[in-house]
């Protein structure tokens, strides 16, 4: 019996020593697991982003590379860039200021994903509001989107290009266009995904074919030159929506992305892209 008491006592003491050992390591472990929780949310968010969001916001979140989910073909990005300073940087981001959001950044992103944004192509994603995502999935996505914020991104100088009202004013700063570069950009910005190439009218799947643009654009709106019409139509697709699209009447509001003022104006040199594309389309230089 004495032996048993000794064995029992020793096991009890060893147990207590293990507990003490564990307790000493707990603060560090809790920290690791807190980080792990967030890391795994970001991993899940990445899966969701790939399957649900990349079609409109681009595979890298900068709204430059978008692919049709069904066909895998490159299309124009409908969404705003997310991997983008005004969206991410600061406790109160430029985007939150612009929309008058007074809550937290986390809440802003979560609310935008959950309920969508009225009047844009962004639908409601949370099941609560008729979308497909559970609350935990919305949270995973929020963690993923916010993870794009880096010191490097936020150190970029603030820049928003002020687009002049007319193409003539823009041409003062950017007088020369490069048609060859414009051809490449026509694909990069996703134009060809909907409007097809310039040689085959049948290649335009969603938006009107652009091969005959110089003739058509000149007569579309009375009082507007071809160049001014195209200039406005790219930057503000809803200003003028044509009646017929390849797959029936064109939708109103236009299904063309309306984020080109941002995408073509995020640096002092970027508006050159618009000039090059318009040159490629044949509406520049001005007659």
């Amino acid at each position: 019996m004495q032996v048993k008491i000794v064995i029992g006592t020793i096991s009890f003491m060893l147990t207590m020593m293990i507990l003490g050992f564990v307790a000493l390591q707990e603060p560090a472990r809790l920290e690791r697991f807190t980080a792990a929780r967030q890391g795994r949310q970001i991993e899940q968010g990445a899966h969701l982003y790939d399957s649900q969001c990349a079609t409109c916001h681009g595979v890298n979140g900068d709204a430059t590379e978008c692919y049709d989910a069904a066909t895998g073909e490159r299309i124009g990005c409908q969404g705003l860039p997310l991997n983008y300073k005004p969206m991410l940087c600061g406790d109160r981001t430029a985007r939150m200021v612009a929309l008058g959001w007074d809550g937290t950044k986390h809440g802003f992103v979560a609310a935008t994903i959950a309920v969508g944004r009225f009047g844009t192509a962004m639908p409601a994603w949370a099941q609560e509001y008729g979308g497909p995502l559970r609350p935990d999935e919305v949270e995973d996505l929020v963690q993923f989107v916010l993870n794009w914020e880096t010191e490097e991104l936020c150190a970029q100088p603030d820049f928003v290009f002020e687009w002049p009202a007319t193409i003539e004013e823009l041409l003062v700063a950017f007088p020369e266009g490069d048609a060859a570069r414009g051809e490449g950009l026509y694909t990069t910005y996703g134009c060809s995904g909907c409007h097809g190439n310039l040689t085959d009218p049948a290649s335009a799947a969603v938006g009107p074919w652009q091969g005959n643009l110089p003739e058509v654009a000149a007569t579309r709106v009375e009082g507007l030159s071809a160049a001014q019409y195209v200039y406005e139509s790219i930057l503000y697709p809803n200003n003028y929506v044509v009646a017929d699209c390849p797959n029936g009447p064109c939708t109103v509001p236009s299904s063309m992305p309306n984020n080109f003022p941002l995408r073509m104006g995020d640096s002092p040199e970027r508006p050159q892209d618009l000039i090059d594309i318009m040159t490629y389309l044949g509406v520049l230089p001005l007659p």
């Binding site: 029992g8 096991s11 009890f12 147990t15 507990l19 307790a23 697991f33 795994r40 899940q44 794009w148």
Partner: protein, 574 residues
């Protein structure tokens, strides 16, 4: 009755206090004063009348324990302490379970984040959760072994038939308790194991309307959801423990009534001497059995705490998703046999057979009335039981995905190297050693052992699901693997005219595959890992048999390294 004040006046303060303490202790122990306890601990003979018997008569806790056992049953053999350990495990699970309950809400909205809260925000939370988990699995094992031991020593025979019957019910309750706890974390593992398992109710040999309603009651809705979780939670924390406690006390009382049966060889055939023990062969509960049980409790506690620390990590997969079924859904190991049976036979047959088997076990002692408990006289019964055990082991293996549920070979490689759930070598690599770029299986990265090991594990997985058309040439698509390491393809033509390529025992593998691993950093500290599989049709190189990708993400902080420390997960990290 003299008051304490009177006593002080009579004996002085010191004597009076001692007498009072003695009295209090005697009340608490229901019969033993301080001197009696000291004598018991010293191993002295008890005074007359024996105060050590009084707690058995007067106290609640000891009245369901016998005051003495036959000395023959107090050694390791024949009981192996399995009954006591089963009880210990139940108490252990209750205590750890109550602590976990404090941090848990049975709602699909928060149950999963509760789990992460326990892991990341509750001091000792992971340890408690692991203790509850290892305790649950150990309890299943201990209870099953207790039943096995009872069968082998023939202790179910008269007069202990009913003890055996309650024991069978306790075994089933233990399995159900363990399994009902499975759902509570509300992760993919929980959701799909439960969904698959209770869908068995639909196949029971009863009218469809009965089956459907039973399933509806078990799920709380057409599929598991908030109501289902609440029901399984209440089963787990309320109904099943209550039932278990009831049968536990019946079971224990029968032990008081009949004692523990002697080793079969130690008594005459047909005799039962457990309750007619000569004075010199008695071992009294106080102090010997009690000390023994406390020692075993101490050892079991040590094992479970150390096990929760180093051996057994409770899994926590991603959030339950009713839409996405994981590639391989497996039952826990103690129910794997039923999954194996489902692969062999018709579902209705299996679902009907399990309760029939249970009833057969419960009533068995009333039909198996052979008088002798000796091994030599029970050759048929023991042989059948060993065959049954072997059958259960094979069934358990058949329940694993290794048996007859191979998916396409590229998905099998994908799930081994970059699993949808749980750790793997690739996820557990130190983040700063992971290189970005494109890599071939088996490629050696000089000066980077971690990456080399990861690519070697990819090579192993690829080799297990591939073959080469010509072994002397090898696979020109993956030059990093030597020709001799590949397996020669065996071609099998299906009735449809399609060809299937086999290698060794593995059916449908990839002939001359091209596999590459792409690693890119898509966000700060977030990697996208993509496995690219391209297998051309050997007869028609223009066409792809397989042209797929398998993608996973890995964050620097995801901490799969911690999971790989535990032996129940380490095999996935090799």
């Amino acid at each position: 009755m003299a008051t304490f004040y009177d006593q002080v006046k009579e004996m002085g303060i010191k004597q009076a206090a001692l007498a009072k303490a003695d009295e209090v202790v005697e009340r608490i122990t229901a019969g033993m004063n301080i001197g009696d306890i000291r004598a018991a601990l010293r191993g002295d003979e008890p005074r007359r009348p024996n105060p050590r018997l009084r707690p058995h008569a007067d106290s609640f806790w000891l009245h369901i324990r016998p005051s003495f056992y036959h000395t023959e049953v107090t050694h390791i053999y024949p009981t192996f302490r399995l009954g006591w350990l089963s009880t210990f495990m139940f108490v252990w699970e209750t205590i750890t379970g109550i602590i976990l309950m404090v941090f848990y809400t049975p709602s699909p909205l928060v149950a999963y984040s509760n789990m992460w809260n326990i892991l990341s925000n509750v001091p000792l939370g992971q340890l408690i959760r692991n203790m509850h988990r290892i305790g649950a699995e150990a309890m299943v094992l201990v209870v099953a072994m207790h039943m096995l031991r009872t069968f082998i020593t023939g202790s179910y025979k008269k007069p202990r038939q009913f003890t055996w019957a309650t024991g069978m019910i306790l075994l089933v309750l233990t399995l159900m308790l363990s399994f009902s706890g499975y759902l509570l974390p509300w992760d993919q593992l929980a959701y799909w194991a439960l969904t698959v398992f209770i869908s068995g109710a639909e196949a029971a040999p009863a009218p469809a309307v009965v089956n459907q309603n039973i399933l509806l009651i078990l799920q709380g809705a057409p599929s598991l959801g908030a109501d289902g979780l609440l029901r399984w939670y209440l089963l787990h924390v309320l109904l099943l423990p209550l039932l278990l406690a009831i049968f536990f006390f019946v079971h224990y009382y029968k032990v008081v009534l009949y004692g523990i049966s002697l080793p079969p060889g130690r008594e005459e055939i047909g005799e039962d001497t457990a309750k007619r023990v000569p004075k010199d062969e008695r071992t009294y509960f106080i102090p010997d059995i009690l000390t023994n049980e406390l020692m075993w409790s101490g050892l079991a506690t040590l094992f479970l705490v150390a096990g929760a620390m180093w051996l057994w990590d409770a899994p926590l997969e991603t959030h339950a998703d009713p839409i996405v079924t994981p590639l391989h859904v497996v039952a826990p190991w103690y129910l794997s046999w039923s999954q194996g049976w489902l692969k062999l036979a018709d579902k209705t047959l299996v679902v009907g057979f399990i309760p029939a088997l249970l009833v057969a076990f419960i009533v068995m002692p009333y039909f198996e009335v052979g008088k002798s408990r000796r091994y030599a006289d029970r050759r048929v019964g023991l042989s059948v039981s060993f065959l049954f055990m072997a059958f259960m082991l094979v069934s358990n293996w058949m329940g694993t995905p290794e048996y007859r549920v191979a998916s396409s070979p590229d998905r099998e490689v994908g799930i081994k190297v970059l699993p949808e759930e749980g750790p793997s070598l690739m996820y557990a690599l130190p983040y700063d050693q992971v290189l970005k770029g494109r890599f071939l299986p088996g490629q050696e990265i000089r000066g980077n052992e971690a990456m080399t090991a990861a690519l070697a594990s990819l090579k192993k997985a690829v080799l297990a699901h591939s073959c080469v058309l010509d072994r002397s040439v090898g696979n020109p698509n993956i030059p990093t693997i030597k020709a001799s390491e590949w397996t020669q393809c065996r071609v099998r033509e299906l009735q449809s005219g399609d060809k299937v390529y086999d290698a060794g025992f593995t059916r449908d593998v990839m002939p001359n595959p091209y596999v590459e691993l792409q690693i890119e950093e898509i966000q700060p500290r977030l990697l996208r890992l993509t496995l690219v599989f391209q297998v051309k049709e050997p007869d028609n190189p223009e066409e792809y048999r397989i042209n797929t990708t398998w993608t996973a993400f890995r964050h620097a902080d995801s901490n799969y390294e911690d999971e790989c420390r535990f032996i129940n997960k380490s095999s996935k990290c090799r």
